[in-house]
């Protein structure tokens, strides 16, 4: 069983005699982490039951054969001694003392007739049971702690071989996800496809630059369309090219940079660059 020597160090000297007597026969046990919240550790006892158990050991008999009456007297004597020395004593000890005094009287006096309360013997048996059980648990704790323990007596593999984790992705998507995405996408695009295509047009500016460049210094009459052949290939551009180049040519005529003639209504339009000439030609109005 556990030794309480360590507990006793520095504890109340006046009871040292009793304690020496109590613990002399026991073997040492370790007790390193002191429980910081021991409140009742007045003389190294963990509560009245612990004190009772310690006192019981002084009877040096099997707990089964212990005299509870004698034990109660021992306890009451102990408490009296402590109080005489004005040592602090937690309330539990006093409660236990009161209960033991009551038990003692029950054990000594004859039981009253027709009383439903437990008899003195029954109460004494209960106390004996609790003491036995506490002692058994102490014994069990000590056997447990003395087993071959991992990292103290037995050892695990010092160089464990780690599990190699291979990562793999698993994708999750349901058919519903797929169809929702597809339908939403198509729906969106079906709406935005109804757009009005930007029309390509030749601006007046474009036409003027191109005409100036193409006709340049050509002073012979030539059909306007002949200059525009490559721009008229795309049918949708034709109207824009013709309109813009006609308007641009009129502007160039007004500026005196170009001459234009047409033999009849809807006939091809001829153009040439303006060059100094002796015989001015008839300028024809254009339809």
């Amino acid at each position: 069983m556990a030794d309480k020597d360590e507990k006793m160090t520095g504890s109340g000297q006046p009871v040292a005699d009793i304690q020496d007597d109590l613990w002399s026969a026991t073997a040492p046990v370790d007790r390193a982490i002191a429980d910081p919240e021991f409140t009742i550790d007045v003389d190294g006892f963990e509560g009245p039951l612990d004190l009772l158990l310690s006192l019981a050991r002084t009877q040096k008999v099997d707990l089964a054969k212990i005299s509870i009456l004698h034990l109660a007297e021992q306890y009451l004597g102990f408490i009296e001694e402590v109080r005489r020395l004005r040592l602090e004593l937690a309330a539990d000890y006093l409660v236990m003392a009161a209960w033991l005094a009551f038990l003692k009287s029950k054990l000594l006096l004859p039981e009253p007739e027709g009383d439903d309360e437990p008899t003195g013997e029954e109460l004494a048996a209960q106390l004996a049971f609790r003491l036995k059980r506490l002692e058994a648990m102490r014994e069990a704790a000590s056997q447990l702690v003395n087993r071959d323990r991992l990292t103290r007596d037995v050892f695990a593999r010092g160089m464990p071989e780690p599990i190699i984790v291979q990562k793999r992705s698993e994708f999750s998507a349901t058919l519903y996800d797929l169809l929702t995405a597809y339908a939403a996408e198509r729906q969106r695009q079906s709406v935005s496809f109804v757009h009005i295509a930007r029309r390509s047009v030749w601006s007046l500016q474009d036409a003027r630059i191109i005409l100036t460049r193409l006709i340049g210094n050509i002073s012979d009459w030539a059909p306007l369309n002949s200059f525009l052949v490559e721009y008229l290939v795309e049918p949708e551009m034709r109207t824009s090219v013709l309109a813009s180049s006609f308007a641009a040519s009129l502007e160039l005529v007004r500026e005196g940079k170009l001459e234009v003639q047409q033999s009849a209504i809807f006939a091809p339009l001829y153009v040439r660059s303006t060059v100094p000439r002796a015989v001015p030609q008839t300028t024809v109005g254009v339809q």
Binding site: V29, D35, P36, Q143, V154
Partner: protein, 238 residues
């Protein structure tokens, strides 16, 4: 304790049957596999984890039994704690291995007592622990024990106040070299003497300590609120 004389007569694997050498080869193969898996880990390996990596039809108990027999008496033994298996050095060789020993914080006598009471009386509430010890259990004591990983909160007792119940863990078994709770020292004697009863009077039989993951009929599982209030990992995480 360890009979080294026996060691030499154990072949690998133990079972040698001439009439059925194919089965035998298969057993050898599976014994090798389990040996490798358990040997590689410093923590006990669960039977579930072993089973997952063996072919479906393997009789794991037989394989483990072979391996256990095979390593008995050796410098390293195969040991079970609960449903988990590990290789551990033989206890009698501790003197050789002091270099590897980890200086552990020693538990106070009070903490040890509480630990023993939880192990032998589980599932047990704090009030019951206090009834046995006849003294208030400080919060610190239970905290220290929870920190060791040897005890865990199991659930709540179906009783007024719904007190938390405590029990031991697989780590407890591993640390103290117990295959199961039945191996707790002196358990049968204590039980026979009626000393594992929390309640008085002592006129009904009390079941074996129960560390079964499942809660008993008298326990409720933790609720989400409990888990928050108690600052708990899920109870199985203990």
């Amino acid at each position: 304790m360890v009979d080294t004389n026996n060691a030499e007569v154990v072949p690998f694997p133990h079972l040698v049957s001439d009439d059925d050498s194919n089965d035998h080869l298969t057993l050898v193969k599976h014994v090798r596999m389990v040996e490798a898996m358990v040997f590689a880990s410093s923590e006990p390996v669960s039977e579930k984890a072993l089973g997952e990596r063996l072919p479906d039809d393997v009789d794991l108990d037989a394989v483990l039994g072979e391996l256990e027999k095979f390593y008995s008496g050796r410098g390293v033994n195969l040991v079970r704690s609960g449903n988990n298996w590990a290789f551990r050095t033989a206890g009698d060789l501790a003197f050789l291995l002091q270099k590897e020993a980890i200086q552990q914080r020693k538990l106070s006598r009070a903490a040890l007592e509480v630990l023993a009471i939880i192990a032998y009386h589980q599932p047990v509430t704090r009030a019951e622990i206090e009834e046995i010890r006849g003294v208030v259990t400080s919060k610190g004591t239970l905290d220290v024990l929870l920190e060791t990983g040897w005890i865990r909160m199991r659930g709540r007792r179906r009783a007024p106040g719904r007190p938390v119940t405590y029990g031991s863990t697989d780590q407890f078994l591993d640390h103290f070299g117990l295959a199961e709770l039945r191996d707790l020292p002196g358990l049968d004697e204590l039980k026979g003497a009626g000393l594992l009863q929390s309640q008085l009077p002592a006129n009904f039989t009390v079941p074996m300590p129960d560390d079964c993951e499942d809660l008993t009929e008298e326990e409720d599982p933790f609720t989400l609120e409990d888990i928050e209030d108690l600052g708990l990992l899920p109870p199985t995480g203990g």
